[in-house]
Symmetry: D2
Subunit: 215 residues, 4 copies
Amino acid sequence: MYGERMLKLAKAADLASSKYDVRIILTPQPSDIYMLARETSHVHIFAQHMDPIPVGRGNGAVLPEALKSSGAVGVILNHAEKPMTLADLSQAIKRADEVGLVTMVCADSIREAEAIAQLLPNIIVPEPTELIGTGITSDKDYVIATTTAIRKINSDIQVLQAAGIKNGQDVYNMIKAGADATGTTSGIMKAENPEAMLDEMIHAIRTAWDEMHDK
Amino acid sequence: MYGERMLKLAKAADLASSKYDVRIILTPQPSDIYMLARETSHVHIFAQHMDPIPVGRGNGAVLPEALKSSGAVGVILNHAEKPMTLADLSQAIKRADEVGLVTMVCADSIREAEAIAQLLPNIIVPEPTELIGTGITSDKDYVIATTTAIRKINSDIQVLQAAGIKNGQDVYNMIKAGADATGTTSGIMKAENPEAMLDEMIHAIRTAWDEMHDK
Amino acid sequence: MYGERMLKLAKAADLASSKYDVRIILTPQPSDIYMLARETSHVHIFAQHMDPIPVGRGNGAVLPEALKSSGAVGVILNHAEKPMTLADLSQAIKRADEVGLVTMVCADSIREAEAIAQLLPNIIVPEPTELIGTGITSDKDYVIATTTAIRKINSDIQVLQAAGIKNGQDVYNMIKAGADATGTTSGIMKAENPEAMLDEMIHAIRTAWDEMHDK
Amino acid sequence: MYGERMLKLAKAADLASSKYDVRIILTPQPSDIYMLARETSHVHIFAQHMDPIPVGRGNGAVLPEALKSSGAVGVILNHAEKPMTLADLSQAIKRADEVGLVTMVCADSIREAEAIAQLLPNIIVPEPTELIGTGITSDKDYVIATTTAIRKINSDIQVLQAAGIKNGQDVYNMIKAGADATGTTSGIMKAENPEAMLDEMIHAIRTAWDEMHDK
């Protein structure tokens, strides 16, 4: 999603964030950040990628300071579709800290998540493909295994679990299983009515959270 | 340059473009495209890079359709700081044609410029480092050698010459030597007053052009 | 294939090359080049990749001079599984010319093949995926289209056609359609008896060639 | 170094390894591994790089099984001149374990070394450029800082310190400072007589080691 279609979803997310008092992260194309940041007031805009370059170099690279000034508050790093070298990832986390961008780093195995935890990001998104077919199928086991491994190294890191979320029930189960947060791209994109699906999911987070905290 | 500082330069460029009736291309960070496109009316906003991905895939990649919808009218490809594989470059030119973005492709040798000419971009920027120290030092020889090589393959391609432009006199000489266009990053960035330098350069283009066409 | 298994195939290729008087190119892992070059006397050993680095730099890169000294006589560049930037490809062809290695460059579209032809390699391997479903399905049309496009730019470049070769009949048809050469990896690897299949294919080349030249 | 020149050095290393009873790792071009493994009997041949591919795919990639079969006993990963994505590095360490190759992984900061330690390599080579200018200038402080950080995570990992080794005295100091091992490329390459310098360095290791263990 991009442009006007993305703006419509962002406005629905803004509304849902306010209505349910739940924090929502959106991760648009870099060229949509400025527009979305101006047109919303509750959602958090994260860039999809950032390069660890200094100001004044790197035509074609995504500059940390430029993201910040356009309204982004955080950045995804090392997504499976944009893998980073270890040196760049380490440096990008430092640059994000310098300019004040929250870092959300993707891992594709538990061992990789443990390595990333040493680099002190704010959020880790573990998507351990290795678990597929191992018998660790329940949401609960999966969430506990990855969360425990990361927390053992650094308990300040938040863990966002994003495997196969398709609807409100999946979201509810994930939060009840102990995830700090959850996320989806295809679950929203493939929904017949993305805005309605977003409302359903955010509502599910609120419900799960309230039940866990006796509200 | 990015954010507010870039916006100030863009407004000066917008003014100079109108004042001297000269076409100006700006190449900002992707996150500044939307803002600059809204706040200017004469300059042409080109993205610094684009990936040849289809809609719906490629987190962290720069989507052609998203650039277009944010206000970009063109894109730089294969910049020396963002070299592309031949397969990606070929595909990116096709994708740009599809969505209606002008392609400006960089080459770092005459032979590379000839290869790029076969891919049918709109503009080629030859920066033949190989010429350094070969005796072909005058602007005129340099411009003629590269322009001739490209035109021989496809005479529709425009050639933008961008080697070592520091001031209005350099710009004047380059246009008089036969370049379709010229450009600079450091010449503007390092100037004490970038807006004044920009005005000087655009004025020089106008003068050179008028002298060449007897106006 | 690698190690002892590759050596067995190389010896069969060596025998077939001599028996049918047909030139055969083998493209082993870099660590097998030295062994194969010593143990064969007719086949031509090409490396699978090479980096355009100078002597004395580039840990982890494949050095042209080292390939040459180990017994390689040529190198594949820009294979679809190892795409190169245009700048590296252009430079690698120059480095190969310097040290005396034959260059065989892969292209994945006709337009890409035309761009590569400008870089003056010795051999181009066009595998135009774009032709799929276009109606240009016969071997003959396919071979003529790509060969003509390349020859128009530089008639010294040899064209090796390698699409979907499974057996001796495919090889025969390809040569009769006008290809300078043909090749296969999976056709040999997936054969029940790779050495027998290799003999069948080389025999087919000989037969096709002799028929075309009235012997 | 490559080819015959490398073979001469390898033979001198083989002799020094035997003479001083010190383990020596050589890291040649992939195309020299087979020759060096056959012509030496004491030195350990490590490849300069390896890709985490399975057998049967990846033209142009370096296959773990092929390295092993050619005589390599280990592999360097993530060298500063061949940086790997975190996902590839993690996978390459697993593949090396599978085929029985020792892993030696480079890090360019202490934080990066800590991340790598989570991936369970056999050896880490920390070259913390960040320490430059921090006052931690003595070999001893430098070695202790990096070794401590790595050991805290996994005490089985050996630490090879390789910063600025130019002669036998540097080697002696490094081992006395607590390094498990040390290494150099330029110290040997730039020596007037590389074989003599190699003997001097290996002798220095023996001396330092014996002094530390009261022999």
